[in-house]
Structure formats: C-alpha cells, structure tokens
Symmetry: T
Subunit: 71 residues, 12 copies
C-alpha cells in the first residue's frame, strides 16, 4: 500500500435492457481512454420514457482510477 493517488470521473451509461448493462456500457466506453480503473459508485439512476414504456435506462456513475506516477 504505497501512497497512491486516484482521480474520479463521472460518466452516464445507457442501455435498453437493464441497469447493470447501463453501468457496463459506461465502464466499457471509459476503458477506451482510461486505465487502472478500480471502483465505481452509482450517483443517479434515471431513464427515458416513450409511449408509456421505459425506452432507455440511464445510470450515472463515478469511476475511480489510479494515476500513474510521473517519472
């Protein structure tokens, strides 16, 4: 447990199927540009309604990732 520093970013993932899938979508997209992701925390759960039915699940999460030591 050497001293480490983490940064948190806030991402909203969406899905037409489940809440878990919306979170996975957010993390999957973030993994394209962010490395060393360690944890997430759900900040808000919303959704879009169309014709009286859930059209989209929207979950906003904070993602924490380790910052690499600069050399």
């Amino acid at each position: 447990m050497t001293d480490r520093v983490y940064k948190t970013i806030e991402i909203t993932g969406t899905s037409t199927t489940t809440l878990e899938d919306a979170i996975k979508t957010a993390i999957d997209r973030a993994s394209q540009t962010v490395h060393n992701m360690r944890w997430f925390q759900v900040v808000e759960t919303r959704g879009a309604i169309n014709d009286g039915q859930v059209a989209q699940w929207q979950v906003t999460i904070k993602i924490g990732f380790a910052l690499e030591e600069s050399s």
Copy 2:
C-alpha cells in the same frame, strides 16, 4: 423543443422479480391515467423481507410528463 411545462409525480412500483420490473410496474400503472411521460428518476430503493428472503422489490421513482397547452 416545443414542450414547455412538465409536472413530476412520485410513484412506488413493486415486483417479486427485479428492480427493473418494479420500475416498469410503476410506469405501466401511471400510463393508465398520465400521458406524455418523458423521464423518470429513482428516488429510493427498498424491499420487504419475509422468512429471511426478499419478498418484494420496491422502487420509488419520480416521473416527469409534459403538460398540454390549455386552449
């Protein structure tokens, strides 16, 4: 962007299966009397326990819907 004014109501849906289903139950029931629903936001997630097991998932959501222009 022609909608002008929205009203929010708070509904608790229940389900014996999943959190998503509890939300769908809430929206499905609301659609019987409310039109032009646009979004929802999860306010609280609770449940009933019976004999040491989850007996009911209970999700309280705010539902936003557009108010029609009076003529």
Copy 3:
C-alpha cells in the same frame, strides 16, 4: 400491528452477476444470525473494476428487524 421496536443494521452484499443478487447475498448472510427481518433500504451502490470490467457488484443496505419482547 404487534411489533413494537425495530433495530436497523447496515450490511454490504456482493455479487459477480447482478445488483439484486448482491442484495440477496447480504440478506442471506444476515439471516444466519438475525431473525424477524422485515424490510431493507438501499444505502449505496458501488462496484469493483478489474481489467476495465465490472468485477464485483457491491450494494450496501440497511436491514430492519423486529426486536422480540424480553420476558
């Protein structure tokens, strides 16, 4: 309505599959030592990320259970 006093405890359940399963894991473990559980409330939803993917769903709930009358 004969129950008189309830105690609340805070438990974090984990799962590799779904949010509902994490909650069930928490309640299932609590049922080994606590009786008369009546309700739960989700306090926080987090997760662990490994290799850019969700490795563990973590849901913290408050569980309310009836305290038996002392005799």
Copy 4:
C-alpha cells in the same frame, strides 16, 4: 401483499396545539379525496411565530397510498 403500485403526495398540515395534531390535520384533510392511504413520512417541520410565541405548527408530510387496479 397484493397492493402493487403506490403514489406519494406531499401535504402540509397545521395546528395551534401540537406537532402530532398538525400531522393528523393533514391526513384528515387528505382522506376526503384520497383512499387507501398506507403510510406517511415527515419531510419538514416549521412554524409561524407571532408576538414572540409559536402561533402555528406546520408539518409537511409525504403520504403514500395504494393505486387501485384499473379494470
């Protein structure tokens, strides 16, 4: 556990005597138009002061009631 969907409304009751009476006033008035009320939750407790004394107790509660199945 046959109730399926609940609606929550927010009512402020007032009283010149006690906090409990302010809550009862709110529920009593609501019962004139709302049926199947199941629970309430205190949201805010305020009051009016006149001549250096409490002139009115004001308690805002959320009331939850079961929505009947449409047929």
Copy 5:
C-alpha cells in the same frame, strides 16, 4: 390563522430567456388548474445546451397551495 392544509406539487418550467421566466412559465401554467397558490421553492436548476449555447433554461419548483375546506 385558522388551521389550514396545503398541498405541494412539483412543476418544471422552461424558458429561452431567463431563470425567472422559467419559473413564471411554471406558475402561469399551474394557475390554469390550481387555485390558492401561496409559495414556491426552487428544487433544481438545469438547462439544455445546443451548438455550444444555452438553448433552454429549466427550473423545477415545488408549488404550495391551500386546499379549500370541503363542505
């Protein structure tokens, strides 16, 4: 200050000009169906962005109005 009971509803007003105008829009629309409105409280201030500019101001308010005595 006879005992009175108030109901609160949540309305989102929108405007392309100012925050105050968004609130006025909400109250103006509510006044078509609700009487005896007494106060409002801002719950959330949001907006839509289009082409890098504010396209719509959106203010969600709670409106409190007196319930008339049933006779």
Copy 6:
C-alpha cells in the same frame, strides 16, 4: 408584504417534557433579545439519556426575523 430582509439564527431549546416545549423554550429565550420573529424551522432533534431514560429533549431550530429598516 412590506418586510424586506430577514436574518436567520440557530437556537437549541431544551425541555424535560415534550418536543414542542423544547421549541417554545428556544423561542421564548430568543424573544428577550430578538424582535419581529416570523418563522422557525426544525434543524435537528436530539436528546440526552440518563439511567436508560430520556433526560432532556433538545431541538435545534432556525428562527427567521425581519430586520428593521435603518433610518
């Protein structure tokens, strides 16, 4: 509606009898030095326990009072 500006102070009243009495105690004491009090809002409700019984009810309130125009 001629009052223009209000100040809020935070006072904790105590009582050995009821919550209402603790609030009255706070307002009564405040009235010795503050004039034109208009409203209060409960911020926190606590109490002291002695020998397994409530020894003191403690209610913290915000009190709003009108500031007189300077001349």
Copy 7:
C-alpha cells in the same frame, strides 16, 4: 470527561399516542441490553395510516452509548 469511545445503534420505536412516546419505547427496549446510553438523535419520523387515520407513530433514532474499557 472520562468516557473514551462510543457506539451508535439505530432503533425504531413505535407508539399509538405521541412522537415522544415512540422515542421512549425505543430507548426503553434498548435499555434491556445496552448500558451507558448517553444521547439520541432523530433520524426519521414516519407512521402507518389505517382507515384514513394515524394508526402508529414510528420514530427512528440513533442511540449513542459509551463502550466500557476492556480490562
């Protein structure tokens, strides 16, 4: 000021009469198994409604008590 460490537990007391009585019920029950209770703090005030009337007052409190030094 010799007490050193305190533990907090969360208890919900109920009553058919007053809010104060619900709190007393919680503390009275807790005193059967917990010693050295020092303070409480109200966390939530709810109630059950039956036939359009308050059937039960429910107050959730946190109770703080001193942990005895282990020897």
Copy 8:
C-alpha cells in the same frame, strides 16, 4: 495570507423583480451593520405567489465576513 477568521450569517433578501435583486437587497441591508464582507452562497430560493403570479422573490444566502483582530 495571514491567519484570518471569518463569520457566516444567514440573510434572506426579497425583491419584486429578479433573483439577483433579492440577493443585492440582502447584502445591501447587511452592509449597514457588517463590515469586511467577502463572499455569499445561495442556500435557498423561494417566492410568494399571489393571484397566480410571482409576488416576491426570496433568496436566502450565507454571507461570510472577516472578523477584525481584537487588539
């Protein structure tokens, strides 16, 4: 940046025109008795409604001011 100490007071300003004007009214009145004001923070935005229209904008702010060193 010698060590400094600040005090915060809570003031509600009102206006019949804009939110900004309500804040200015609060600060203008406070400046009659408080010196060295440095910042404000909006705590709550409310208003009075009369005849279905906004009659008064009410903004509650916290004002921070530097306490002068006693000599």
Copy 9:
C-alpha cells in the same frame, strides 16, 4: 436516441452582471474544448462581495456531453 455514453464535467463561470451570464460564460469557455454538450445542472451559486456590494456572480454547473464512439 443514438447517443450512448455521456461524461460530466464541473465548471464554474463568473460574471459581473447576472446569474444567467455566469452560466453562459462557463458554457462558452467549455465549448472551446468540449463538443456535443447536451445539458447542464446548477451545483452551487456563490459570489464575491467587495465594498458591501456584489462584485462577481459565481455559478458552478455540471455539464453533460456525449462521448463519441471510438472507431
């Protein structure tokens, strides 16, 4: 509804004139480096006071923008 994932950033805009202008300043500056902005939400409203007058309006907003699909 083709946008899939959004990122939120937190920006504080300032102005010497109005709250709306402070928000526009924030969004205008953000538009220099961020594309596909969709919404904002006010997080905090503060200001600087100089010589007993508002010297600067400061509004902190969260801005949500769509992340483009990586190819």
Copy 10:
C-alpha cells in the same frame, strides 16, 4: 443539566499548518466575544492553493454556546 438554551454560530478558522490549528484559531477568536462555548461541529473543510501547494487550511465550524438566563 441546568443550561437551558444554546445558540449556534458559524465561524471559519484558517491556518498554514494543520486542520486542528484552523479549528483552534476559529475557537480562539470566538472566545474573545462569546462565553460559555460548549461544542463545535465541522461543517466544511477547504483550503487555498498557491504555486501547486496548500497555502491555507480553512475549516468552517458551528460553535454552540449556552445563553445565560436573563434576569
């Protein structure tokens, strides 16, 4: 338990060394004009940064003190 009524004030203390020192600075300054201080509660912890380093620790606390009985 003879103290009856308490007032709370909000003070921000600063320090160039530690968080504890910032709190002590606030209480030390308050003691010049306020007597019978009993407790404090940390409301917010902030700081100023200069040249990439912490230049000042800023801790805002609420201080509770007993109001003397007027005679």
Copy 11:
C-alpha cells in the same frame, strides 16, 4: 476478492490531541471485539469546548468488516 459480505458499525472515538488520534482510538477499541476490519469512513467531526479551548476531539466513523462464512 473472496470476502463476500460486510457489516458496518458506527463508532465515535475521542482524543485530546488530534483528529487522527480520535479515529485511531475508535478503531483500537473496536478491534477488541471485531475482527476482519477493512475500511472506515468519517461521518461527523465534532468536539467539546471548555474554557474557550478545544477540550476533546470527537470523530464518528463507520467501520466496515468482513463477516466470516458460517460453516
């Protein structure tokens, strides 16, 4: 990642020296009866004031610990 279920308890530690020491005091006392502690989170920071000086630092933390599998 073999731990499955965690319980959270709330403990207040005190110290006459530093905030860190108050937290250590809480964890040290908890370690006498609780095993497998993994993390803590600060819930509230308070203190007692005596003769115009900090007499006691009081930090309330939530402590999370792993529940062992029953066999």
Copy 12:
C-alpha cells in the same frame, strides 16, 4: 479578479501518516498536469484498516483551477 472560468476535478490522495499529508499528496500529484490551482474542498474522508490498525488515510478532494483564456 481577472480569472473568469474554473474547472473542478476530484482527486483522492492517500497517506500513511496524517489527513493533511493525504491532501498534500493529492495536490502534489495534480500539480504535475494541472496549472493555476486555486482552492480545494474535502469531499470524503476514508481509510483502510489492516490488522486492526489504520493502514492508509484516504481523502477525496475537489480541486478548482482557473482555465486560461484561449487565444
């Protein structure tokens, strides 16, 4: 007062010694890539426990820094 727009980022610093050191660690690491940092605000204070002792102090802060004018 020439700075116009600020951005806020959220960083978690860690330390094995003190809370202040955890904050300094966060700011020190951020200073490698971010310029014109002006203030920070503590968002959350947590820690890791190992063998019944604090193994790591973890402080999450928001850091505000001025965005330079684009030319």
